[in-house]
């Protein structure tokens, strides 16, 4: 049985019970009553406070760390430095170049050096200011060109290149020969701050001898466990990690979860006291990872008939002080370099470059937001060069079943981008909006953006997930997944999958907060895998439990197993539906008959071939596709841009809940618009100068555009539960290009960098004489 055929092949039904229907999230009421608990809500009064002494230099050798004065501040419990780290002093994600606490060298303003543990915040602050760090300053580099220049200061290694990628597909020379038009440009996509409403928080409690319990916000409890155990020099089972409800994450807390948990855990272990580490907003903005900045040099060609012939890209990713997720991020950009189009000849070269600035990290869209910002402008430019309609040109080249991607991956199922694009073109009356419209001082324009985003790991790296399910004596169920609730509702999506398969009432399922002592390792909540991988593990657990329930029920109902229907937490014989047995009775019988009431679900992605040398092969398990049309109004006097309407479409494989799909899309539209026109993280000499909501502006309710009904395309992925694909990340990717292309349509101006703030727009209009 393919997982997308569960309904017909396993459940023998034509209609879904809960999947695809609007349902109220199980966590909604607690959150609406203010009873939902986030990490800091668990921290008791008078808990020892941890604060981090951070580097004030962008690049320097540490000559001396003197804590003696600070230790004399009344109320200080202890101050921990690198020498207090019992295990490995290493916390890097991909490369082992990131010390947990720095004692030799600092690489950016914000590098952690010492942990101050004190009875309260004021004391901790006073002590923190009394810690003396003596530096020997080194020359610092603040941009990629300076880092790549000959004789540049070495941050971690010679030439400052952390990692490289490469794709060679077809014959690029032939591609250029076949091209009738060629467009070239260089794009710069800057930092973006996640601005999760909840600042990072971790609470650690020493738990007897040789165990610590951590409650924190995060995206992968098992990753946190692994990193903390390594720092403490402990076994995995000595570290218990509980993910508290997480107040927004968007990738950020995948990176910060291990760091903050490590600080709190080390403090708790060393002092024997419960310890709390809570970041404040300015610390979040100043020192935690952002969306990686990146430069793309693009050259794209098409023939006179409007077929793409060649794409050549040079990607220079600015990683900042540490590589962190850069290898994976860069691979995503490399692998998606052509956008959702078929291009026969491709050459992509990527490199990730260190600088002495706050480092990059996971963020919704993982490289693909920046990539599509560039790639989709290239496509738009080609269409204009060819005097073709931008939608028609895209449609001619769009990926379809049987197409091959940038990496030469053959797409054999679940490709719905053509339907997405056709859908938004029709809904927005695209053909009628080909001329910009002047309204007073404003010009209205329309633009389109397409996107695709590989689900799960790149390069066919093995990916798997796990979940567990237990049915109790009264028929209620406990569901366990380490896929985290970070706002997106993925675990609730799992619960719906379980309810669909088991036939239980949705509200009979309790989703346990992930706890590494009891929750199976589902692997992280990232890479658009939470629902696609985690939900399929849930399906596996549910299918196993269902088999046992059916076995027992068929016996109790005295009918063949094929006739047993499970619904409303009851079992009955489809041929004789009047007799219904509640699950409670079936569970009792299961125990008597020795049928296990608990099940463990495990799911592995199909293994395929990928050649890292050429960059070709089966790269991602499946792709989510999206298209959007944006309508903008540009005030030519003030340069202010307003996004007035968005028409979104997405091929999600299968909708598990339309409210959640819309929720992701609406949120992504807001974040995408923010990135495109207002969010502007600024630094001076490596120091972040926009350290709060006041100056790092993100959209408010008044900046919300009208959003048309989402056009949902369902091209099921055959290896995931009911065919569902990831939604949260892909939903942001097409927004930025749609907006910048609409701005071009309105003004005739192309922007090679974002955000297109009023002052930038005004300057561009002025220079173009269009003011």
């Amino acid at each position: 049985m393919e997982y997308d055929r569960i309904l017909s092949d396993l459940l023998n039904r034509d209609e879904y019970l809960v999947v695809g229907k609007k349902t109220v999230r199980l966590d909604a009421l607690d959150k609406l009553l203010g009873k939902a608990r986030f990490t800091s809500d668990y921290i008791p009064k008078n808990t020892m406070t941890v604060k981090v002494v951070r580097s004030t230099m962008p690049h320097a050798l540490i000559k001396r760390v003197d804590t003696s004065t600070a230790l004399m501040v009344p109320g200080v419990v202890t101050i921990l430095t690198a020498k207090d780290v019992p295990g490995e002093n290493e916390i890097g994600y991909a490369l082992p170049e990131q010390p947990f606490l720095n004692d030799k060298k600092v690489h950016y303003v914000g590098d952690p050096i010492a942990l101050v543990c004190a009875i309260d915040e004021t004391t901790a602050q006073e002590a923190m200011e009394a810690v003396v760090v003596e530096y020997e300053p080194l020359p610092a580099v603040f941009d990629i060109d300076a880092a790549l220049a000959e004789g540049a200061p070495i941050i971690h290694k010679e030439n400052n290149v952390a990692v490289k990628t490469k794709i060679r597909k077809g014959d690029i020379a032939k591609g250029w020969k076949d091209s009738d038009v060629v467009v070239e440009d260089t794009y710069w996509s800057p930092y973006q701050e996640h601005m999760c409403l909840e600042p990072e928080a971790a609470y650690a409690v020493p738990d007897g001898v040789g165990k610590v319990t951590i409650i924190a916000c995060m995206q992968s409890p098992h990753l946190v466990r692994e990193k903390v155990a390594r720092v403490l020099g402990w076994k995995l089972n000595q570290v218990r990690v509980i993910q508290a409800l997480t107040g927004g994450a968007f990738g950020k807390k995948d990176d910060t979860g291990p760091l903050i948990s490590g600080y709190a855990a080390l403090a708790a272990i060393k002092t024997g006291k419960p310890a709390a580490y809570i970041m404040d907003r300015s610390e979040v903005l100043s020192v935690t990872p952002k969306r990686f900045p990146v430069r793309f040099k693009y050259r794209s060609g098409a023939d006179g008939k409007g077929k793409l012939t060649a794409v050549e890209v040079e990607i220079t990713l600015e990683v900042g002080a540490y590589a962190n997720r850069a290898p994976f991020w860069l691979w995503r950009q490399t692998a998606h370099a052509c956008g959702p189009y078929e291009v026969p000849n491709v050459a992509v070269d990527g490199r990730a470059v260190y600088t002495n600035k706050v480092y990059g990290g996971s963020y919704r869209g993982f490289g693909n937001l920046a990539l599509h910002f560039a790639a989709e402008q290239q496509v738009d430019k080609l269409a204009y060069e060819l005097d073709m309609d931008p939608v028609d040109f895209r449609m001619k080249n769009i990926l379809r079943i049987g197409s091959r991607t940038t990496c030469d991956q053959l797409l054999d199922n679940s490709v719905g981008i053509d339907k997405c694009l056709a859908g938004v073109a029709a809904a927005s009356d695209w053909a009628k909006h080909r001329e910009p419209v002047r309204i007073g001082t404003k010009i209205r324009g329309w633009g389109v953006g397409c996107a695709y985003h590989g689900n799960s790991t790149s390069r066919s790296t093995p990916d798997w997930s796990a979940a567990s399910l237990m049915i109790h004596g009264d028929g209620s169920l406990t569901y366990r997944t380490a896929i985290c609730e970070i706002g997106q509702g993925s675990p609730f999506g799992h619960a719906k999958i379980v309810a669909e398969i088991i036939g239980c009432n949705l509200d009979s399922i309790k989703i346990e907060q992930p706890d590494t002592d009891s929750t199976p390792d589902s692997k992280p909540t990232h890479g658009s895998r939470g629902l696609m991988m985690g939900g399929t593990a849930a399906a596996d657990a549910a299918i196993k439990l269902r088999e046992r329930i059916i076995r027992v029920a068929s016996n109790m109902l005295d009918c063949p197993e094929a006739h047993v229907e499970l619904r409303d937490s009851q079992a009955y014989n489809r041929k004789k539906p009047s007799v219904k047995i509640p699950f409670a009775e079936i569970v009792e019988e299961m125990h008597i008959r020795g049928e296990n009431p608990a099940s463990y679900g495990f799911y592995t992605s199909p293994r395929r071939f990928f050649d890292v040398d050429t960059g070709l092969g089966y790269n991602y398990a499946v792709y989510t596709f999206a298209a959007s049309v944006a309508e903008v109004e540009v005030d030519t006097e003030t340069g202010q841009v307003e996004v007035t309407k968005i028409w979104p479409a997405m091929d999600v494989g299968k909708v598990i809940d339309p409210l959640m799909v819309d929720g992701q899309i609406h949120g992504a539209i807001s974040q995408g618009i923010g990135f495109a026109i207002m969010e502007n993280l600024q630094l001076k000499d490596g120091v972040v100068t926009t350290t709060g909501f006041k100056d790092y502006i993100i959209p408010s309710a008044l900046d919300t555009p009208e959003i048309d009904d989402t056009i949902v395309v369902e091209e099921p992925y055959k290896h995931a539960a009911f065919g569902a694909k990831g939604v949260g990340e892909p939903s942001i990717i097409s927004i930025v290009p749609a907006v910048v292309n609409a701005i071009h349509h309105a003004t005739g101006l192309r922007f090679s960098t974002i955000p297109i703030t009023p002052d930038r727009m005004h300057k561009a209009l002025k220079e173009a004489g269009k003011k």
Binding site: V24, G34, R37, S40, C196, P199, R281, G663, A701, T704
Partner: protein
């Protein structure tokens, strides 16, 4: 000693001048529905009603609420208008991470209490001080308009 009314009950607490209302509520009095998001009065997660008006508790000094009525969503659990808002938020999928939710509900409540049929623009203005990074506000705005319709059927 600051004396005030919290969700209808009298509270006396020895609050130093340097303690914010937010910290007094969250840490000292255990009212954790009020969230700490920015500590600058910019994000609205710490919104409370003081004498009925939404204000950000992170930039109010605790002794300043002497003699005032402070209301958090805990005090409105049984309130009919708040119940309608909750229902609408649930049905429209207006809750994601939930961190901004208590603050938004209080702003929405204050709006609908004083303005039974607000326009969309008035709804947006009422919650412009409550930043949400998850929902894009769409479902929230719809929910508030829905709740308004439910409480004032014409």
């Amino acid at each position: 000693m600051v004396n005030f009314e919290l969700n209808g009950a009298h509270v006396s607490f020895e609050a130093p001048a340097t303690m914010t209302l937010l910290d007094m509520l969250r840490v000292e009095l255990g009212v954790t529905s009020v969230k700490k998001g920015c500590e600058q009065g910019e994000c609205g997660a710490c919104t409370v009603l003081i004498d009925g008006y939404p204000m950000t508790s992170c930039i109010i000094l605790a002794p300043q609420v002497e003699g005032r009525h402070v209301c958090t969503i805990d005090g409105l659990a049984e309130n009919p208008l708040m119940k309608e808002l909750r229902e609408a938020f649930m049905e429209n999928g207006a809750v994601q991470c939930g961190f901004c939710t208590p603050g938004i509900l209080l702003s929405a409540y204050a709006l609908l209490r004083d303005n039974k049929r607000p326009s969309e623009e008035e709804v947006k203005t009422a919650i412009e001080g409550n930043i949400c990074r998850c929902t894009g506000y769409v479902a929230i705005i719809e929910s508030i308009l829905d709740a308004a319709e439910r409480i004032a059927p014409d």
